[in-house]
């Protein structure tokens, strides 16, 4: 049997890779995909704990996280489309009109 810590280590690696992409990438869509990567890392941790603690509630949380991710993707991509219409760019460096 695989120890719980291996699942959690995989989850940590995926989460950190998501953070790396979120910080270093410049394309809005790629940044958005990195957020999905982080959400999936958290889901993996939830399911691993659910299995090892013998509690189904962790899987409930994952269910709700997936639903919220779907809603977030729909609204987020609509915002990206609206931004592209008005600004003609996908680079996060150009989208700085709220910067002081």
């Amino acid at each position: 049997m695989i120890p719980l810590s291996h699942y959690l280590a995989l989850s940590a690696i995926l989460f950190v890779l998501g953070v790396v992409g979120f910080v270093f990438r410049r394309n809005v869509i790629t940044i958005f995909m990195c957020i999905e990567l982080m959400l999936n890392a958290v889901n993996l941790a939830f399911i691993a704990f659910s299995r090892y603690l013998g509690n189904l509630e962790g899987q409930m949380f994952v269910f709700f996280v997936i639903v919220v991710a779907a809603a977030e993707a729909a609204v987020g991509l609509a915002i990206i489309i609206a931004l592209y219409r008005t600004r003609e760019t996908l680079s996060i460096d150009e989208l700085d009109s709220m910067k002081m």
């Binding site: 049997m1 695989i2 120890p3 719980l4 810590s5 291996h6 699942y7 280590a9 995989l10 940590a12 690696i13 995926l14 989460f15 950190v16 890779l17 953070v19 790396v20 910080v23 270093f24 990438r25 410049r26 394309n27 869509i29 790629t30 995909m33 999905e36 999936n40 889901n43 993996l44 399911i47 659910s50 299995r51 090892y52 013998g54 509690n55 189904l56 509630e57 899987q59 994952v62 269910f63 709700f64 997936i66 919220v68 991710a69 779907a70 809603a71 977030e72 993707a73 729909a74 609204v75 991509l77 609509a78 915002i79 990206i80 489309i81 609206a82 219409r85 996908l90 680079s91 460096d93």
Partner: protein
């Protein structure tokens, strides 16, 4: 079982590296689909059949189709690298390495690999999930339906021609 887990874990990490380091958004999206599918296999190994299926249908299916469609629609090409922030360039990598070390250290300290025997396998099929969802989590479930309604309306309004 054990070998399958490690194969899927390595595949997921490699594909996640692809998501982060590919220059073209389409390649990132395709790598993300590989990550999602290998995570679905890991969910199956953990006995979460329902969520594995949901992962493939909703995530790798619906959400990623949306992503690929938007990438196609907006004609997103190779991103140009800019060099705006010197601080981010020199401080970013060490800080992220520190974050990884911190998470892994906490995991290792809290859950030493030897003494965490798994609980008895759960029945995590659709029937058990449905029982829990419609008995204990009815209110969150209904709130979720409201959330999705608002998200649909928000997406339609935001994607209109004149905002």
């Amino acid at each position: 079982m054990v070998i399958l887990f490690y194969v899927c874990a390595v595949l997921a990490v490699l594909a996640a590296l692809g998501v982060v380091f590919q220059r073209r958004p389409v390649y990132s999206a395709l790598s993300l689909i590989v990550v999602l599918c290998s995570l679905a296999v890991i969910y199956l190994l953990l006995g979460a059949e329902f969520l594995a299926v949901i992962q493939v249908i909703i995530y790798a299916g619906a959400i990623m189709v949306l992503f690929v469609l938007v990438i196609m629609l907006l004609n997103a090409r190779t991103e140009s690298s800019t060099d705006r922030s010197r601080i981010a360039r020199w401080l970013g990598a060490p800080l992220i390495a520190a974050l990884l070390v911190e998470i892994v250290a906490v995991v290792w300290k809290q859950f030493p690999s030897a003494n965490t025997p798994p609980a008895a396998p759960l029945d995590a099929g659709p029937a058990a999930i449905g029982q829990l969802l419609f008995r204990n989590y009815v209110l969150p479930f209904e709130v979720t339906s409201l959330l999705i309604l608002v998200a649909i309306m928000g997406a339609v309004v935001l994607a209109k021609k004149q905002l």
